[in-house]
Symmetry: C2
Subunit: 327 residues, 2 copies
Amino acid sequence: MVTIADIAKIAGVSKSTVSRYLNGGSISDATRKKIERVIDANSYSPNKFAQSLKAKKTNIIGTIVPRLDSYATSQTLIGIDEQLRELDCQLVISNSSQDLNREIENIYSLAKQKVAGIILLATEITDGHLEAFRQAQIPVILVGQQHDQLHSIIHKDYESGYELGKYVLQKGHRNIAYLGVTEKDIAVGIKRKEGFKKAVEGQPDTLVHYFETSFNIKGAMERVPEIIEEYQPSIIVCATDNIALGALKAAYMKGLRVPEDLSLTGFGGYDITEITYPGITTAKFYYKEAGRMAAKDITKLVNGEELGKISFTKYEIIERESVDNLL
Amino acid sequence: MVTIADIAKIAGVSKSTVSRYLNGGSISDATRKKIERVIDANSYSPNKFAQSLKAKKTNIIGTIVPRLDSYATSQTLIGIDEQLRELDCQLVISNSSQDLNREIENIYSLAKQKVAGIILLATEITDGHLEAFRQAQIPVILVGQQHDQLHSIIHKDYESGYELGKYVLQKGHRNIAYLGVTEKDIAVGIKRKEGFKKAVEGQPDTLVHYFETSFNIKGAMERVPEIIEEYQPSIIVCATDNIALGALKAAYMKGLRVPEDLSLTGFGGYDITEITYPGITTAKFYYKEAGRMAAKDITKLVNGEELGKISFTKYEIIERESVDNLL
DNA sequence: CTGAAAGCGCTTACAG
DNA sequence: CTGAAAGCGCTTACAG
C-alpha cells in the first residue's frame, strides 16, 4: 500500500505539502503538478481510517431503514444512494427489522462509527430516539414522519387522503370501509385517515366505517372478509397498497369481482399496483424523490447550512380500474 | 469521547493492558475485573478508525447488489444482515444499479475501504471482475452465479428447471412456450432453460418454442401477446416470477383466462406470486437462506478456513392455480 | 508557499 | 502478567 510518505518522498516534498494538495490548501503550481503526477502514477488514495482518526469526521451518511423488503424502502434508498454518490458521500445502510429498540441501537452504533449524518426512514419517533439523537450530536433527517424537534421530508398524507376521499365520493360510493393501520404511525395511521375523514365529512347519506389492520398483505387478507360480510361496503379504501393487495386477493377468494362487486383503493403507488388485474387506483408517492431530497438535506446540515424544518414531496392520484363508477 | 488512555488512567493500568483486555490477551483476574468496571462505568468503546489503522483490517463485509428494488436482492440482504449481525460483523451495501462497470468500480472502492470480504450478488462475471478481485486480494463469495475461480452459493437452477418441466408435461401440456432471458446470465438464462429442455426432450408430440425477454415486468407484457398470437401455446414457462407477472397481466389484457385459456409458471417464489389471482405456480428459491450461507462462508474465508468452491441452496416447486390440468 | 513536529487512538513486539 | 515505546497514515497549527 502506498502512503502519503511515499508520495512525498517520490515527489521530493514533505508530507504536509501532499496533505495540503489533498485538502485544497495553498500550494504553488509547480508542486501541485508534480504531486498530481506522482499520485496518478502510483494510483495513491489516502487511507480513510487515518483521515477519519485525525480529522475526527467522515463523509459517511448512515441510513436506518425499518425493513429491507418494502417498495417504499427500496425506492427511497435508491434515491438516497444516487444523490449521495453525486455528492461524493458514502452510504451505510442499517436495518432495524421493524424493531424500535434495534432502531435506537442503530442510532448509537452509527454515532459510534462517526457517521457525518443520519437519515431515518421513520415509522414512530419515541423518547428513546430523541435521547439517542441528543447524545449522538449528529444531524438527522427523518423521512416519512414529522417531528417538531427534527428535520423531515414527508409525503402529503393528509392531502392525498383528502383528494382520494373526494374521488371516491365523486364515483358515487356511499357505503365505505376505510381499512387503516395503527395510530402509532402518525403519517400512515392518522394523517391519511384524517384527510379522508375531512373529505367525506358532511356528505349526506354516506356511511363510513373505520377498521385497522397490520401493514402486511396477509393481515389484510384475513381482515377483509369479515368487513365485507358485516357491512357490505361498495368500496374499501386501504391505507397502503399492500393492504389493497391483500384486499384484492381476499375479494377474489370470496368470488367477488373487482370493481363490479367491490371497489378498492390504495396509497403508495407501488409498481405492482399497475400489474394486478384490475390495476389498483392509488395515491402515488415519490419515494425516490424523497430519498434524493433527504440526501441533499443531510449534507446541507452536515455542512452547517440552514434548513427549513420540513419539506414535502409531491403525490398524485393514479386512476386505474379498481374503482367502479356508481353514477 | 473517552479513549483507551482515559480508561487506563482511571483503572490505574497501562494502555497496553487495556488493549490486551480488549483483544483477549492474558491478564490477571483482578485487573480484568477492574478494567471491566471502568469500561462499563464510562461506556467506553474503542475507536474503530484507530483500530483499523493499526490492525490494518476491519470486520466490515461489503455486499454488492445489482439493484435494490428486487425481491431476490431484498431477501438475500436480509439473510446476510441477520447472519452478519450474529457474527458481529458490519455490513456495507453497495448498489451498482445494473451497471457492470459500476459493479467493478464498487469492488475497487470496497477494497479501498479495507473491507474484510466481499459478497457479490452476481449476474455476470467478466474479466473486469476477475481482475478487480485479483487486485483487491480480498475473499469473495458469489451468490447466484458460479465461477470456477471463485467461491459461490448457487440456487438449483438446472434441477428446478428440470422438475418444473416434468410437472408441466405431467399436466398434459404439449404446446409450450419458454420465455427466458439473456444467456449472459448463466444461472437464469442458461441453467434454468437447460434443465427444462432436458425434461421435455424426447417427449412425443410436444412442441416447445423458446423466446427471450428482459428481466422486467414491462418487457414480458410486451412480448407475450406476439407469442400467443403466433403459436397459441397452452402454457408459458417464464424464467422469472417477474416475467410471469408480466405474462399474467398481458393475458388479462387480451381477455384470456388463466389458467383455462393460458397456463403460466415462474421461477423465484416471490411473495407476490401468492397474492395474484390466480396464484402462480413457481420454483421457489430460498434467498434469505442463501444470504445467511454467504455471510457464514465469507467470515470463514476471512478467518482463513477451508471452504468448498460451491454450495447449493434448496428449492421447491410451489403448486398453485396458474397451471391447468389438461388430462 | 513549504517543512518539521506533534498527535489522533489504537496495537504489538519487546522487556521485565 | 504488565508497561514503555514505537508506529499505523494521516492532518494541523506553528515557524520560516
